[in-house]
Structure formats: C-alpha cells, structure tokens
C-alpha cells in the first residue's frame, strides 16, 4: 500500500512540477536505487560481499538491448527473457562463487565480472565493443504504452522501481528473508538449527542478480543503449559506495545512498572537474567518521535499547 502511495505521489509531484531535470534525476535515482538495493540483498542481508554485482547490471542491459535490436517485437517479452537469462547466469556464477568463503568469494565474483567485461569488449560483432550498442534501442508500443515518449518511460521506470522495492521488501520480510539474515548473522548457528545455508546463499545471489539485471534493463531504456562500463568493476565499487553511504542495515538505506551519490556527483561535476577528490573525501569521512551509513546512524539513535 505504502509503496503504491509513494509511487503515485512521486508521479503526481513529477507531473505537477513538469520539470525535465527532476524527471531525469528521479529516473536515475530509480535505476541506481534499485541497483544498490539489489546489491544490498547480498551485502547487507546475506553477508555476501560481492565485488562483481555490476556483472548483472551490464548483462541485463546488454541482453535486453540485443534482444530488442535483433528483432524481438515485444518489449515485455524481451525484458522477461533478459531477466531469465540473467537469472540463469546468476545461478551458474553463484553456484561456483558461494563455495568460497570471505575474500575469495569476493575475488571470484570480481573475476567473473571482469571476464564478462572482457567478453563484451572483445565480441565486437555482437556487442559493438567499447562503443556499446549503437543506434538506439527500438521501443515498439505495448499495451498502449509508448516508450518513445520520455514521460512514459519515466512512468514505467517509476512503477517498476516501486514494484521491485515492494517485491524485494516482501521477500526480505518473509521467512525466506529472515533465513538470509540468519545466514548473515551467524551461518554456523543457522546450520545448527537445520537451515541449508548454501542453498540460501545461492538463492540470495540469484535474486540479487535478477534485480540487478532489472536495473540494467531500465538503464538500457534510459540511455537507449548499453556500454561496457555497465559491467566494469568501477560500477560495482560505486554500488558499495552507495550502500555504505546510505546504510546497509536499513531497507531504504541504499536508496538514500544512491540519491546522495547521484546528487553529490551531479552537483560536484557542475562546479569542478576534481570530482574524484570530493567523492573520495566524502567517502573517507563516512567510512572513518561515521563507520556506518547515514540511515544506520539514524536507526541506531532511534532504537530503544
């Protein structure tokens, strides 16, 4: 209900203001917010520190873009097919990665991501290499929706974003979600209570990959293309940045983190080309000063002992 309300409210505010920059900002926020939330399913809720989450963002974007460009006539069908492919990828990569513990898990996810990145760069005939998918992504009408119209793209993105948040939240609030937290908090104890820990790690990996890919699909729609840096390690790093900024212990923390990250990025690039310097300093202050995300701090203050 609340998600629906927030969704309608967002759309109303946006249409009332009718401001294109606001719409752009909100769309990017929805994309990166969803991406960060999906990463946080792993990092925050399951305790799996993936260095390679952008792999799914990039894969989703490319799969969708390529399907649309190579003649799938229905946009929802292409999106669903891309999601299915991404889930299959996540299943395979995840099954291999979760066998490893701690830092080795992280490294293996990174290695797989860089492998995908290398494939995207090398397979020029399919992916366009470093120049990305060119010529735009066709947007045939479906169900009366015309995604060639920016406003309708915005509406669809917003609806998908809130629906995804609702879905992720439902999952995280379900017995399944609590099982993931058990794995995060104390995997050996969870096993001693009869929980098949590895299976749950894998399921979390696939779900996170799925929503990461969905964010990638939205991104492909937004920029009307797909680029290798969608699957580059820097985007994985920025995902971490976002969730650390906003807070990994609170559901909406990553969304806030994404919002701050984007606003900071957009504002700083307006005034200086030394964007990295500013972002680096902010990151240092958050990590060394607060030692947790903003919403984590707020929640820690609010919670009675």
């Amino acid at each position: 209900m609340l998600a629906l309300l927030a969704c309608v409210l967002t759309l109303l505010i946006a249409s009332a203001l009718g401001s294109k920059p606001l719409i752009d900002t909100l769309m990017r926020l929805a994309i990166f917010g969803l991406y960060a939330v999906s990463l946080n399913i792993l990092v925050g809720y399951t305790g799996l520190v993936s260095f390679g989450h952008a792999m799914f963002f990039g894969f989703g974007a490319y799969a969708f873009g390529l399907l649309m460009q190579t003649g799938v006539t229905s946009l929802p069908a292409a999106a669903l097919a891309s999601l299915a492919l991404s889930a299959a990828l996540a299943l395979i990569v995840g099954a291999l990665c979760i066998r490893l513990a701690d830092i080795y898990f992280s490294f293996l996810t990174l290695a797989f991501q860089m492998l995908l990145h290398a494939v995207i760069l090398s397979w020029v005939s399919l992916t366009g290499g470093d120049q990305g998918l060119q010529g735009g992504i066709p947007r045939p009408r479906f169900l009366g929706i015309n995604l060639a119209d920016p406003w309708q793209v915005f509406v669809v993105t917003t609806v998908v974003f809130f629906a995804s948040l609702l879905a992720i939240r439902t999952i995280l609030q379900s017995p399944f979600g609590y099982a993931l937290r058990m794995v995060r908090d104390n995997a050996p104890r969870a096993a001693a209570l009869g929980l098949p820990v590895q299976r749950y790690k894998l399921a979390a990996f696939v779900i996170a990959g799925l929503f990461g890919a969905l964010a990638g699909i939205l991104m492909a729609l937004y920029v009307s293309g797909a680029y290798p840096n969608f699957a580059f390690w820097t985007l994985s790093g920025e995902g971490m940045f976002m969730i650390m900024l906003g807070g990994i212990g609170v559901f909406l923390g990553p969304v806030l983190g994404a919002a701050i990250f984007l606003l900071l990025n957009d504002t700083v690039t307006r005034f200086t080309e030394y964007n990295g310097m500013v972002m680096g300093v902010v990151l240092l202050v958050v990590v060394l000063g607060l030692r947790q995300g903003l919403l984590d701090v707020v929640m820690a203050r609010l919670r009675p002992r």
Binding site: Q173, S224, V250, I260
Partner: protein, 425 residues
C-alpha cells in the same frame, strides 16, 4: 505503516520517510537553478559534455580551451545584438551513461539550446541518442567513427559532425602508403592498433585502401594491445617475430608514446617502416623523448600544415593563452564553434532548427581547410575539405616534414563508393 510482526517498524517509519523526501526536495531545488533566470538579453547557452578527468582528460581540456577562444572572440565583438554565448563545459569522466546524463542536464537544467559534443566515440553515440530524443542541435567535435554520421540508422537530422573521420584518414593513408610501398618495395604489412572499435576500423580500412591502391601488398599479421595497456612488450616481440616490412598503427597519445619507447628498446623502428596515423599531434611529438626519425604520420594537428599564416597565428594565439600547443581536438572544436557562431550571425537566431538549416552545406573560411575553407556537407552533415596530409617525422621542431596534402576529389569518390557498398548511399 507496516510492522515487522513484533512491533518493530522496519519500513517507512516517519524518520526515514522524511529523510527521503528531504533528499528529493533538495534534489529538485538543486536541479532547477534556471527557474529564477531573467528573460531579457539572456545569453545563448551552449553545453559541452567532455572528458575532463581520467586518462583522456586532455581531450576534454583542449576541446574546451579551443571552443572558449571562439566564444570569447564572438562575445568581445558584441555577440548577437548584445546577446553573448555562454559555454558550459561539464565532465562526463569518459563514461557514456554519464555523458548522456550530462547532456540531459545541460539541456533540461541549464537551458542549453545547443550541444557541442566533445566526447570520445562511445560517449558521442550516447549523446546522439539523447539529442535524437530531445531534438536539440548538436555538433560532435571529437568522434572520428564514420558510422556516427554515415549510417542512416544512427544519424539524426539535428546532429552534425565537425571532426575528421576514420574513413577519410584511411583513404588518404592508404593512398599515401601505397605510393611509398611501391617506391620502396614494401610488400609485407602488419598492424598494431588498440583493441577497440576505433583501432579495428582504422586498421582494416587502412589496409583495404592500401591494397586497393597497391595490390601487391599483403597483410601478414595483426596485434592488438588493449586500450591504456601499460605494456606493449608482447606486441613488439610479436611484430619482430612476424618480420613485416612496414607497420601501421592507430595507437595514439600516451599509448603511442609507450609503444614507441618500448619499441625503441628492441630497435623496432630500424627494422620496419612505421606508419603511425596519430603521431603528428603536439603532446605526442613532445612526449616522445627520443623521437625516431622517419615515422610516417598523418597530421593530427600541426601549426605548419597547412603552411598558412592564419594557421600559424591561430596556433600561436592558442599557445599564448593556454601556454600549451593545440591538439587535434582543439582545431576540431574551434572549427565546430566557428560553424555555430557563423550560423548564429547569419540567421540572427538561436533556434536549433533554423541554425541546422543554415549549417547544412555551410562553407566557412578556416585555417584548417585544405584550401582555406571547410564545408559542412549537407547530405550527411559532416565536414569535408579539411586539411589532411602525411609526412615524415624528424627529431626536432617542426617535427614533421615533407607533408603531402590529400586530394579531396579522390576522398569523395572513394567515400561514395564505400557508402554504396555498405548500402548507406
């Protein structure tokens, strides 16, 4: 309000909700500074997305410098009935999605009516998609990838290109190299270009035209260092192993310098004739501490080619103002901005459609023209008749001598043929 079941609110508690809202409101206010802008005598805003940080930062910086010089001259001369041009350059960090965002922001947020795109190719394609959607007038000033304006699927009526093209360079390079191959008996050719689309296109098209102009040559191998590779040892040894008589490379900037430094160690350039299309650009020429004599190169930018007074003056003015010599990207952006300024003056308008109409087929006088002028070809909205030439390096200024200028009638003929083959013309 939804509870977790044990009385602990987890989602949408008032605290977090208001934080989120505050963020949105802050975002909205930050994003709309133009709301308060006055209406009279407002400047004509031109947005320039470019790479100002990271390994390609000098691309953006020289682009910005050159465009700013033209803008300043226009404003100093009184602008358009007192209306000045404001150039807003913004960093995309070389990421295509960020370039798309910056362009949207420049258009929607900063009220730019015109986009001067100073992105590398991948960014340019992203910018192209944005301006296709918004209909904003756009000139790409740095992307050399031919398909951007040649491929009917990709080009857009409101988007122009004011930059050299891989195809043009390849035709010229092929014909120049064919002449030398014939004279010196260079039969075995090899390529060493960066492993990305520009490098691959450049190598294959160069070889195509080389073979067309001199059928006796054969390509005996190719090696593909990756972009920004620190190390070229394996490529150098690969070339030595293959023992070609001549080598073509589309490496540029720091990568080309590293390649030359590392090739020198093996005495590579004593053993093969080296055709480096991107050698003749000042930072590259200066950065190579021991520039081998006898490297064949196309001009990227040289103040001595075309050997005209106006070219030398422009170069000197740039050097004086920025204390650095101009690069290839500088002349392209200077010219692009000149096209815009002349279109504005000619039409007295800042309307994109009107300006686009004026730009199509426009010819301007320019130090960078092969014969003193450059034309924005109407059919595919890209420039022709700019100066292209090949020469040979010498270790000291002016670094390149024996420049042979290209013949644009040959280029035009071959280009038409090529487009027909592709089904684009």
């Amino acid at each position: 309000m939804v509870d977790s079941g044990f009385g602990r609110p987890v989602f949408g508690s008032p605290g977090r909700r208001s934080v989120l809202k505050a963020g949105l409101v802050a975002g909205a206010t930050l994003s709309m500074p133009f709301v308060a802008r006055g209406a009279s005598k407002q400047p004509i805003r031109i947005g320039q997305p470019s790479i100002l940080s990271g390994r390609l930062a000098q691309l953006g910086i020289s682009s910005r410098n050159a465009a700013q010089m033209v803008v300043d001259a226009f404003n100093a001369a009184g602008g358009l009935d007192g209306r000045t041009i404001e150039l807003i350059s913004r960093d995309s960090k070389g990421k295509p999605d960020e370039a798309a965002r910056v362009v949207r922001e420049l258009i929607n947020n900063d009220g730019c009516q015109i986009i001067l795109d100073s992105e590398a190719s991948s960014g340019a394609f992203a910018v192209q998609e944005v301006v296709r959607e918004t209909g904003t007038l756009c000139i790409h000033a740095d992307s050399e990838t031919t398909s951007l304006t040649a491929d009917p699927k990709i080009r857009a009526p409101n988007a122009f290109r004011c930059a050299r093209q891989v195809l043009h360079d390849s035709i010229v390079g092929g014909s120049y190299a064919a002449g030398i191959a014939k004279a010196q008996g260079l039969k075995r050719w090899m390529t060493c270009s960066p492993d990305y689309v520009y490098g691959r296109d450049s190598s294959s098209e160069f070889l195509d035209y080389l073979k067309m102009f001199e059928p006796s040559v054969e390509a005996v191998g190719a090696t593909w260092p990756k972009l920004f590779a620190p190390d070229y040892t394996e490529n150098v040894t690969r070339i030595l192993e293959t023992k070609p008589q001549a080598l073509y490379s589309a490496l540029y900037s720091g990568d080309l310098v590293s390649f030359i430094d590392q090739g020198n160690l093996y005495g590579l350039f004593d053993q093969v004739k080296f055709f480096a299309i991107n050698m003749a650009d000042y930072t590259t020429l200066h950065a190579v501490k021991k520039l081998p004599a006898g490297i064949y190169s196309c001009n990227r930018y040289l103040s001595t080619f075309p050997a005209t007074k106006s070219n030398a003056e422009w170069s000197a003015a740039y050097d004086k103002r920025y204390n650095v010599l101009p690069l290839n990207w500088a002349w392209q952006n200077a010219l692009a901005m000149q096209f815009l300024v002349e279109a504005i003056k000619k039409t007295g308008s800042d309307d994109g459609k009107v300006l686009a109409g004026a730009l199509r087929g426009m010819t301007v006088e320019s130090p960078f023209g092969a014969k003193g002028t450059v034309t924005m070809r109407a059919e595919d909205q890209t420039i022709v008749d700019y100066a292209i030439g090949w020469g040979v390096t010498i270790p000291q200024a002016p670094f390149v001598e024996g420049m042979q200028a290209a013949d644009w009638t040959v280029i035009a003929a071959r280009e038409t043929e090529w487009k027909k083959q592709k089904g684009w013309a």
